[in-house]
């Protein structure tokens, strides 16, 4: 996993609540057995005017000009600004793989669905929860200010606006550590292999049917 320390980047707004993982990466692309290459199909049904299929050349497909990601002013954005309950629905990690593959490293929203939120951290993407009023203000600022960028400092847990306003955010200490260091959490867990074995031994005594 890539480390995440700080990021200064362009912000793209996605102004709708309950953006579900089916919308982030439609199901036909879940058939891939790979982990990469989902970026061109991120938000496929909103981004293109035709129907997309896996293994297709996406370069010639008709784009939906109304969709923010297709607008010139948002090209190169690495921070996605969303609304409530972002990432709801299916557990597909492909949703985060698609965001990451497209280039996003930060998603800011007032709330996230749990599984999506977890999946972000596993892939070097930082989901940031800011309160509704702040997110509202950011939407206004992004829409009225071409080239609007934010700076995200994970170590300090602060989002800074171009005018210098600082918005602190919460992040779990363990996840922060993993992101900052780019750590593989399987390796970390395996450092506790003895504790896992000890647990299994005790449980086997109490509830042997769990190990049949």
């Amino acid at each position: 996993m890539d480390k995440f320390t700080t990021l200064q980047a362009l912000v793209v707004p996605l102004d709708r609540p309950n953006v579900d993982t089916d919308a982030i990466i439609p199901k036909q692309f879940l058939k891939s057995i790979r982990r990469s290459g989902f970026g061109p199909n991120l938000f496929d049904e909103w981004r293109y005017l035709d129907h997309g299929e896996p293994d297709q050349d996406n370069s010639g497909r008709p784009l939906n000009p109304d969709f923010a990601l297709n607008q010139l002013r948002y090209q190169g954005a690495r921070i996605l600004l969303g609304r409530e309950n972002f990432g709801c629905g299916s557990s597909r990690e492909h949703a985060v793989w698609a965001l990451e593959d497209y280039g996003f490293r930060v998603v800011i929203a007032p709330s996230f669905a749990d599984i999506f939120f977890n999946n972000c951290f596993k892939n070097g993407v930082l989901p940031i929860v800011l309160d509704g009023a702040k997110v509202d203000a950011l939407f206004k600022a992004v829409e009225t200010t071409p080239g609007y960028q934010l700076t995200v400092d994970l170590q300090a847990q602060i989002v800074t606006t171009p005018s210098g306003e600082q918005m602190p955010f919460e992040v779990d200490a363990f996840r922060k550590h993993c992101l900052l260091e780019g750590l593989d959490d399987i390796g970390l867990t395996l450092q506790h292999a003895d504790a896992i074995r000890a647990y299994e031994e005790r449980r086997r005594g109490e509830a042997p049917w769990l190990f049949n």
């Binding site: 439609p26 790979r34 309950n85």
Partner: protein, 453 residues
Amino acid sequence: MAGKTLYDKLWDAHVVRADTGGTTLLYIDRHLVHEVTSPQAFEGLRLAGRQPWRTSSVLAVPDHNVPTTERSAGVTGIADRISRIQVETLDANCAAFGITEFKMNDLRQGIVHVIGPEQGATLPGMTVVCGDSHTSTHGAFGALAFGIGTSEVEHVLATQCLIQKKSKNFRVRVDGKLPAGVTAKDIVLAIIGRIGTAGGTGYTLEFAGEAIRSLSMEGRMSICNMAIEAGARAGLVGVDETTIDYVRGRPYAPKGEQWDKAVAAWFDLHSDDDAVFDKTLVLNAADLVPQVTWGTSPEMVVGVDANVPDPAAEADQVKANGMRRALEYMGGSCTNGRIEDFRAAAAIAKGRRVKDGVRALAVPGSGLVKEQAEAEGLDRIFVEAGFEWREPGCSMCLAMNADRLEPGERCASTSNRNFEGRQGQGGRTHLVSPAMAAAAAIAGHFVDVRAIG
């Protein structure tokens, strides 16, 4: 000290190690695997040179991509090349890592959330995970069950544990007796209508009260299945005689002396009387009516006797017969693909005919559900009424296989998600109970199932 909730008990019993930062290493008893969310996890194991920690905890099955039409040609007969590769990859990974798999043409194959309970692979008191959000289904057994992403699938394969944070406790109590014609599906849709699709985010939902207790395991599974649609990763129902009766004698269930010991332990799997919940909702069963979703989110739901709120244009489309030619019926899925669901739908279909122009699919949740239904003659009732009787799988719930809606088509579906394009681009889904779906297929529009004898 206050008592414990069921969730607290399940959590505490699985803590391997608690970190100061509030994260916990939680032990996983059962890991269910399917073809869509596992290839990259096995690949990760391989790249890191790791082996699964405990293969006996893993049970795999292909379900999302399998055709629900004739399958005698086996995996090579899957027409869609990419679907086929995914199923073949699961077969190869299970063989390579020594994992038990019910392959596509195994009688026991079916939707992962149907076969876990059916096999007794899901037991009370377990932690159950699967790379699928509807893993919440298994909470009906008093098991802590939740969906995980692919990185977590790899993490569980490699370590038998997950790094977790405890969620909060939310109890939904449904008091009183359910009126006739109102099913488990209607209860859960009504709950989601009340609390919204994010109402349960950050919580584990426990469903309690007389109306829940009176439900069969199938009904409890339908409710827990949709806990995720209310934003909760896990749903729970406490263990009682109904739970034990369902589990008894299943292939993976404990036997003999172990069984007695297990049952004694399982009876403690309910919230203590003095347990404290962070949030509570109380509904009265007598107030509930059959539900129909009208929008593109499960919270956009109304009673069949009510008017659809704004946008007003939807109202006539849903309530009147605007669906005529375009209606499809889809019966099945991990929400409602169990024997009891087909009995309920068959009771409506019996002696009636699917409306001309409506295409009606009945897709059993597993090979064993199909076999049971056929033994009871339900397949004949469906076929005579003009339904297609299919092979088990996810089918049109997600439309990853060949079953899907065409643009402009509407579907009365017994599944769990009505998201835009879920059942095929440009199609529209209305979530309902099996009986309501069958009644819609016959009438060609939504009708109140309580008015049908």
